[in-house]
Amino acid sequence: MSTVATPARSSAGLRHRLAERGISGRLWLLAPAVVFAVALFIYPFAYGFGLTVQPLPATVEKFGGGIFANYLAFFRDPFVFDTVWITMRLALPAALFNVAVSIPIAFKLRARFRGKRTLQTLLVLPITLGTVLTAQGLLIFAGRQGWLNRFLIDVGLIDEPLQLVNNYLGVFFSLVISGFPFAYLLISSYLSGIDPSIEAAAKTLGAGWFQRFRRITLPLLAPGLATTFVLTFVLAFSVFPSARLVGDPSDETRVLALMAYRAFAEQLDYSMASTIAILMGAVELAVVAIVFLGRSFLYRGSTGGKG
């Protein structure tokens, strides 16, 4: 199937030669999706980018820099720029925690046992809760008068109710509750793609569980882990409603998404809103790129198992 045909000898028509390179009428089937992606994704992005270089006069006056005033404002205004770190401080630990905790659980639940399907369903169920309901539940359950604090006081572990919501912790809990089921789902499906006979072979050669994990399962799982981390990180990085509802939106959980929304809906500064949104995407893509680069150093073979 060499795609480079020999035009000199070929007597076939243009249509046929194009078809040999994969260009045929079939490609029209792509048209709706491509048109859609260009109209609703590429065009708004370009438009938004255009907006970022049309700052409001007030921004130019405050930060200078002409058409780059929005970017200057982003990097010079600590109120805005600090949100990058605030978001990272929330998203990275949450994503790492979700992935790290999912690995042992996915491993243990790989074995066949009674009630496995029920347990898996229960683990995945929080996906239905939605961030808004999780926020409401956390406020009631973990609030000062909530059952959690009440129980801890009654048991005698603490004297004063712990501050678990309306701060960093509240958002972290909410990210774990919505992110963990997702991470577990992905990791266990990647795990199910690894052929168990590879591990069995190592076992017959006398490898202990840690050796098997480190030398066999982990390298095979690494691409899946990277993908899972990236997807959970995207979820955590774009945290928005819970940062407002169970967080401390003016200080500890003043995340990028919140700032972008404020500029968009409250200050009606569309150019600044687009700037924050696009830079937010850039920061997030940088982390994604680092993860995938790091992954390519870890292991470069086939992912094994499925084939």
């Binding site: 491509v34 609703l40 980018f49 499906s189 990236v230």
Partner: protein, 301 residues
């Protein structure tokens, strides 16, 4: 290995008595297992606490400093239903969700067919085009998109809500369906073409029946995502086009300290009930832990 074999022997012996199927055994209690179970238990305690406290709150008349409310009532549901016009809100939610499912399958399926079956110049670029909306946070493309919508006068309409929700849904359908189609033996199609079937016929007679499980799985996941999608909907929706999540959020953050907590709790219970119904139906058709593994093959290269 020895353990597994002996269990199997036991199981074979017990088979007549209708115990576990061969090869299945209860989890052995090693320290690692205890650790995992403890973790799962803590997670479930939190989860149950959250769900039950919202449920209790939605029936509570007065609940301040006691373990359980002093008085119970079902009045909050009726109140919430009237006050937030939940009939309308739920109608909008379902209308939006089903339109998004139908449109994203219609747009995405042909594209995933091409991606699964043909190599063509620029294929990587097209793949990237469909991967980006999944990799980029919704707010990042949502804000420019919402600005464009408002400029076109589409702001706060149901059409705008449907359109923004399509942005992540169409790529999602494409990414899930491509490996599904790859698994179908192309010689079936070739045979149909040899017998004179046209592309449309190949689609309706050959591919569609084979793809039904995949379409169902992708469709249901898109449905769940759309019903739960907050960020994108919130950016473009208005009073007449709010979905249920957005309506709850607005009630929680409305000016003047928000609505009575119980009103919000009862709306939350309605939302969860709706999601549960969808998910229970979904789990009848798909095995959650095997769904995503198929994506892996297209994810890289």
């Amino acid at each position: 290995m020895a353990v597994a074999t002996s269990t199997e022997v036991v199981d074979l012996r017990n088979r007549g008595r209708g115990s576990r199927p061969p090869g299945e055994r209860s989890l052995v209690a090693s320290p690692g297992t205890w650790f995992v179970w403890a973790g799962i238990a803590v997670f479930f305690v939190f989860l149950a606490g959250i769900v039950v406290s919202v449920l209790v709150d939605s029936f509570a008349k007065q609940w301040f400093t006691t373990w359980l409310p002093e008085e119970w009532t079902v009045g909050w549901y009726a109140q919430a239903w009237d006050r937030f016009d939940l009939t309308h809100v739920i109608g909008v939610t379902l209308l939006v969700a089903f339109s998004v499912v139908a449109l994203s399958v219609l747009i995405g399926l042909p594209a995933s067919y091409v991606l699964a079956r043909t190599r063509f110049p620029g294929k990587q670029l097209v793949l990237l085009l469909f991967l980006l909306p999944i990799l980029i946070p919704p707010i990042t493309y949502g804000i420019p998109l919402a600005t464009v919508m408002y400029n076109f006068g589409l702001g706060r309409t149901i059409l705008a809500v449907v359109l923004v929700n399509l942005v992540p849904s169409v790529p999602f359908v494409i990414i899930t369906m491509t490996p599904f189609i790859e698994q179908i033996n192309p010689s079936i199609e070739s045979a149909a073409r040899m017998s004179g079937a046209r592309t449309v016929q190949v689609f309706t007679r050959i591919l569609a029946p084979l793809l039904v499980p995949g379409i169902l799985a992708a469709g249901i996941l898109v449905l769940v995502r759309t019903v739960g999608m907050f960020e994108l909907t919130f950016l473009v929706s208005g009073p007449q086009s709010d979905t249920l999540v957005v309506a709850i959020y607005r009630a929680m953050t409305s000016a003047g300290g928000g609505e009575a907590r119980q009103l919000i709790s009862s709306m939350g219970v309605v939302y969860t009930a709706m999601m549960l119904v969808i998910l229970v139906i979904a789990l009848r058709f798909i095995n959650p832990t095997q769904l995503v593994a198929r994506v892996k093959d297209t994810g890289d290269d």
